[in-house]
Symmetry: C2
Subunit: 304 residues, 2 copies
Amino acid sequence: MHIVTSAMTVPENVVTNDQLAEIMPTSDEWIRTRTGIRERHIATAESNYSLGLSVSQQLLASANLDATQLDFIIVATMSPDYATPGEANRIQAAIGASSAFAFNINVACSGFVYAMHLADKLLQNGHYGIVIGSEVLSRLVDWQDRSTAVLFGDGSGGVLLKGDEAAAPVVDLLSLGDTDLSLKAGGEDKYFAMNGRAVYQFAIREVPNSIQRVLTQAEMVPDQIDWVLLHQANARIIESVAKKLQLPPERFLQNIADFGNTSAASIPMLLHQAIQAHTIQRGQQLVLSGFGGGLSVGTMLLRY
Amino acid sequence: MHIVTSAMTVPENVVTNDQLAEIMPTSDEWIRTRTGIRERHIATAESNYSLGLSVSQQLLASANLDATQLDFIIVATMSPDYATPGEANRIQAAIGASSAFAFNINVACSGFVYAMHLADKLLQNGHYGIVIGSEVLSRLVDWQDRSTAVLFGDGSGGVLLKGDEAAAPVVDLLSLGDTDLSLKAGGEDKYFAMNGRAVYQFAIREVPNSIQRVLTQAEMVPDQIDWVLLHQANARIIESVAKKLQLPPERFLQNIADFGNTSAASIPMLLHQAIQAHTIQRGQQLVLSGFGGGLSVGTMLLRY
């Protein structure tokens, strides 16, 4: 398969670190130095569905494709508007994808990479599918808890994919299920609760391992990767992964400063911005790596 | 792929129609004649995770398989315990499936069939995967609303699958996204809200169409199906689908009387009971058809 085109949408409303510091004991300096985040978009009128719909409409317009040509729509999300119907089904109806099936998947921050792997398995040559990562995490944020409230943001990104005869992307997906619930949200307590240290240690250990397994499978060395697109959880994690792989940090794309952690939406948003900026060019080797809730990790090596 | 073995678990607590009639204006006779339901299991101590874990443990024990041999665990659910971690990830950790990836999908009552299709795409020859449908719908039920409270139940069922060189199961998956939200749950209103008439009309039109498309693809006639396992939403829907396909109603397995509508769990529970009872035998042609929230439909023709 290959990426035909990409798109993203974020809520209009921007919340800066300084604005957060007005409602809770924190500061721009504290947040920036520990996370790399300067601001995030927080939904007001927007829903998970409306964000994902906008992404889908942009994808079709940009490729000049009729929605009836889509075989499927997959939405990766941990913050759906409803238990049912899923965002994927509502988007299918709204764009008129009359031949498509649609489903939501949830693997938290790894969701987009998992959905891309499913898309690759589902796509037949010459056929089209849409994969979206979309989140309204502000719903799951306890605005009384400064340790988590500063981290998350809302947004949506996605790609239009087309099946072809190119070799399948190389993937590494792994669950490292978390019996201590060191990263949880929803349920009776409703809000994010995180053992930040445990999740950080998990990420800087398992993400390089997963990327290394993909490279071994592909018989490549780290230096052959053009761009690494990690889930944007924390700028320090990104730096640490770069160091472990002995790659220059410049190859690790970043937009966490502007959006915070948007879970399943972070990788497709990052991808779209870099494609728009012509940073990512056709033929380049991309590594997409998602990690987080589950705990889970998922890496895909993909030629753009 | 083929089904190696099956399992199910329901909560201990049984709630009869008469018990419901004590807390809301309804009656056993009203519920039975309109839905076919006599009783349902409602979770008290059990969680979605604990039900799915029990199913997974039974699957491994029954096949005498070590969890480390699993490639993946997929849980179809619209009523997860948490936004993250997903049931699939927690089960992976609890059973020690150290080489598996894991994810939840949500296509409501169609979820199990969609997950089976993904499993078929993911399974390599000789490899193993688990697919579970698991629900605690009682969480989404408004016990003040007699029109929906009588319909739903909790439970979990699943299968252990093995990849082989047999022809892939024939499937038909379709989203008929529901812009009117005629079947919704979760969100701000939290509870199930349903336009029963619209959903009923959808089901008796789209389920026979989907089954017919699968048969056409497989170049088979309805009479070549040994058993039809429909999502157990309503006994009247099952009768109507049998009539439309001109098949004897005896070929449509039923357990709705004992469990109510358990969404993604209904088909694997039905499958397990019929396998246990030797009703379903090796070599027989099964049609699994899920339908509901989304709105969505999904049908799989599978040789047991």
